[in-house]
């Protein structure tokens, strides 16, 4: 079923915004954060207007309502990724915190000096720095699956790294720069065969593709609400029950305990064991509303629309002399086009496009090692979502020709 973009765009009030008199925003920066439909904004607004109270333990109506809404959202999220149980979905602040949770709890309880962790060269800093920190503290070893010139993982090298019996393989499902969709099920199966635990950075995949944790058989998976039409400040970590139960708690405080004595505590059961302190309750409600919205359109429909836009964008971008798009062909990537243009610095490209309301991102997109690999300090990145249109791609192309004019 094809998607009715003009109808969808009516659900996103910000897409009507004029960023300058007479200049409407052309939002091509959804990989950084997505825009929010009215249903998400209103769900959070209603929560504060009608139900707001702290969750758990409260016996009054508002507390009960808030708790139910917070937990219903967790169930929606669990179902969205096909988690066997909502107890396996832990609320965090974002993908970064989800990965850090694994690094601070599972990894510190299970990894010792000399143990091998496999990452990839296309990781976001959020799946690099937690492991750098652990390497400095514990003396674990890090190895990286290389990225080929066409932006794919070199799985031959992965195979030889697996022979060194890694304890953990942590990798991105979809690159936030190249857009590459990695063969996650295959990478996970091979990791398991080698006896390793797996972490999937799904920040860019869960918002755009149907992701099924049971089909992938992944051990941990991290993602953020704000990239999938939800609010900032909330994300999730999915984990297999046996692993989560064996792990020590993360932050200490209220809600994560079953019992506290003056000199000791007993941790709470899943998922609360990992949720210390008052969480982002309204944001959880918004997260649930975002999942509802995505379900109402259908992930297959969204993915098909994005594919069509991406294919068109790559075709038009590649027409431009001096422009180079990084990453694989449209059939192997999500809605991301990172490019360099004729020696013009990406910041200058982005600035000139901004004059026509075109919002793209310029920089290393929190993936400095990947840019170093390609020998460039930065790229310009346009990214697409369910509300993106071919007309917006055309505006981007026109804008790039303007850049050419300014820099002569």
């Amino acid at each position: 079923m094809s998607l009715d973009v003009s109808r969808i765009r009516q659900d996103f009030p910000i897409l009507n915004r004029e960023v300058r008199p007479g200049v409407k925003v052309v939002y091509l920066d959804s990989t950084a954060t997505s825009q929010k439909p009215l249903s998400v904004i209103e769900a959070m607004n209603d929560f504060y207007r009608r139900s707001n109270a702290n969750i758990h333990r409260g016996v009054h109506v508002l507390a009960e309502e808030s708790t139910a809404m917070y937990e219903q959202a967790r169930e929606k999220i669990a179902k969205f990724i096909n988690a066997p149980s909502a107890r396996q979905v832990i609320y965090t602040r974002n993908t970064t915190e989800s990965i850090n949770l694994v690094a601070y709890t599972w990894a510190r309880a299970n990894l010792k000096r000399g143990d091998l962790v496999i990452l990839t060269e296309m990781e976001h800093h959020s799946n690099l720095v937690p492991w750098h920190m652990l390497a400095a503290e514990r003396g674990i070893q890090l190895e990286f699956i290389p990225v080929t010139d066409d932006g794919l993982l070199d799985l031959g090298t992965y195979k030889s790294l697996l022979a060194r019996t890694p304890k953990l393989v942590s990798f991105t499902h979809m690159s936030n720069v190249l857009g590459t969709i990695n063969p996650a099920a295959d990478i996970i199966r091979r990791a398991h065969d080698a006896g390793a635990v797996t972490v999937l950075d799904a920040a860019q995949s869960v918002p755009h593709l149907k992701v099924d944790v049971q089909q992938l058989d992944v051990d941990f998976m991290a993602f953020s609400a704000h990239k999938m039409l939800g609010p900032t400040g909330i994300g999730a970590l999915y984990g297999k029950t046996a692993l989560l139960e064996a792990m020590p708690p993360f932050l200490g405080g209220g809600d994560m305990i079953k019992e506290v004595k003056l000199r000791s505590f007993r941790p709470n059961e899943l998922p609360y064991k990992f949720e210390a302190g008052t969480p982002a309750i309204a944001e959880a409600v918004g997260f649930g509303a975002a999942v509802d919205y995505l379900n109402s359109i259908g992930m297959e429909t969204i993915a098909a629309h994005e594919h069509e836009i991406t294919e068109y964008a790559l075709e038009r971008l590649e027409e431009i002399p001096g422009l180079k798009v990084f990453g694989p062909t449209a059939d192997k990537k999500g809605g991301v086009a990172s490019f360099t243009f004729d020696g013009v610095h990406p910041h200058d490209v982005a600035q000139i496009l901004d004059q026509d309301g075109i919002a793209i991102r310029a920089g290393h997109h929190c993936a400095q090692p990947l840019h170093e690999k390609f020998g460039i300090p930065a790229t310009s990145r346009a990214s697409f979502y369910l509300y993106s249109t071919k007309d917006e791609v055309d505006k981007l192309i026109e804008g790039i020709y303007k850049v050419k004019k300014v820099f002569g």
Binding site: V344, H345, P346, H347, D348, Q351, I352, Q355, A362, G363, H364, H371, P377, A378, V406, F407, G408
Partner: protein, 130 residues
């Protein structure tokens, strides 16, 4: 945009007069803008407490490179004491444009590098260009 990418800025970016390195030099300092990967190195020769020769090298956006070229041009003949007194307004005056907070960092990188070098600091800090 016409303001931001004034001809003078594009000209200094494309055909800088002071790009290069000085060997020997009395002062040399380099730093990056981690946000966009701009890199600037500034070399100075100093005679009698005054900058007698100056060059910059590096890569980055038009704003960062043009501002480095304009800055280096402006400090030749200045005393080190006067260089220490330079601030963000001097850069904006040289560029002749208004800048938002993100691009301001690009514009100020060269001044930050220059002052860290003149003060003989180990590391450049934003406080130098406030």
């Amino acid at each position: 945009m016409d303001d931001l990418y004034r001809e003078v800025i594009i000209e200094h970016y494309k055909n800088p007069s002071y790009r290069g390195k000085l060997d020997p030099h009395d002062i040399s300092f380099a730093d990056n803008n981690p946000l966009c990967g701009d890199h600037i190195q500034i070399d100075l020769r100093v005679d009698d407490g005054k900058v007698s020769e100056a060059r910059f090298d590096g890569h980055g956006c038009a704003i960062s490179q043009a501002s480095a070229d304009l800055l280096v041009e402006s400090v030749i003949g200045k005393s080190l004491e006067d260089v220490k007194k330079m601030n963000r307004q001097d850069i904006l005056d040289l560029l002749g444009i208004e800048l938002g907070p993100v691009r301001l960092k690009c514009a100020l990188l060269s001044l930050k590098v220059l002052k860290a070098g003149v003060y003989g600091l180990g590391e450049a800090s934003d406080a130098l260009v406030e």
